[in-house]
Symmetry: C2
Subunit: 200 residues, 2 copies
Amino acid sequence: MGTKKKILAGALKLFNEGNTQAATTNHIAAALGMSPGNLHYHYKNREAIILRLYEEMQAQTELEPQERPDSIEALHAHMSHLAHVYWTYRFFHRELLFLLSRDPELKARYIRDNLAHRGRIVLVLAGLVDNGYLQVPYDNVLEHLADTTLLATQFWIPFLETLGDPLDEYHLEGMFQHVQGAMRPYLTPKGLKALAEISA
Amino acid sequence: MGTKKKILAGALKLFNEGNTQAATTNHIAAALGMSPGNLHYHYKNREAIILRLYEEMQAQTELEPQERPDSIEALHAHMSHLAHVYWTYRFFHRELLFLLSRDPELKARYIRDNLAHRGRIVLVLAGLVDNGYLQVPYDNVLEHLADTTLLATQFWIPFLETLGDPLDEYHLEGMFQHVQGAMRPYLTPKGLKALAEISA
């Protein structure tokens, strides 16, 4: 593993176990048995490490147009993948608003990515309508479901905290039960059958 | 206005305009033309001020059993009231997770209040079923709608930030359109009529 990757892995571990404020670059360097100077040679500061970890996470969640889920089954598989990625980088959503408030560059990037993500969610949902899984009886249902998806995926970790629930990979998957619950009244018989087969 | 109230009002203003970390007790005292010693006589530290502001907000949102909304119209009125209270204390939800991470006493209190709040939401929804506004075709719809309500009300301010939307009282009301959107597929004709009259 190259030094840059080692630093990212060491920082990620400290961020996940504690929080980003407690883990200074000196702490990260010490945990890796590395001099602070060597760490700073690779990453200017903690913000640069956090931004790079965000980019890594983001790269694992974005889909090319041809990879976008076109069935309930594919959507479920994608969501399981997402839950795993979000768990791997759990410090990020746990501290989301705080991190955005500390770094204008990260904030601008995050908002841009998030708006693009919202647009892709609407496209995926429209595809599920085209493929006969969903039926939307009135306007703005897709927009509503996109908001539900964004709220759940971005804030499920904080949500668990506000309920005193344990933060583990199992509880994190609750975000998808929530999204499925919101989609449920709009599922066609074909959609309901697909969902039942997944849950079985 | 007594000194304690003056301190709370001054702190709330600074917290809303900037953030709680930037507004030290020295800043709050200076903004009020008061000595730090005088402020500390009334409030031991910033955490004590934040906790007291939380209690004020909480007292304005909790309802006695007999005041709980028993119709779509009453629920709408209660939500408008809530939006106004949340706007008044907007620093709190903007920094929610950060504040909870800094003060174990606040966190324990918040979780306890939030679980009780969740229970009351389910009761209000069950009342709307009893009164013919909602119809729930399968299990756990009320639990799902309670989660939706908690997610939306707690995280709408962060949600607006992650979309780059302005944070103002108008945009904050989006949280209720979101909750209404989630309830809509379960509304009876009576419920739909009540909702249409509100929106008109």
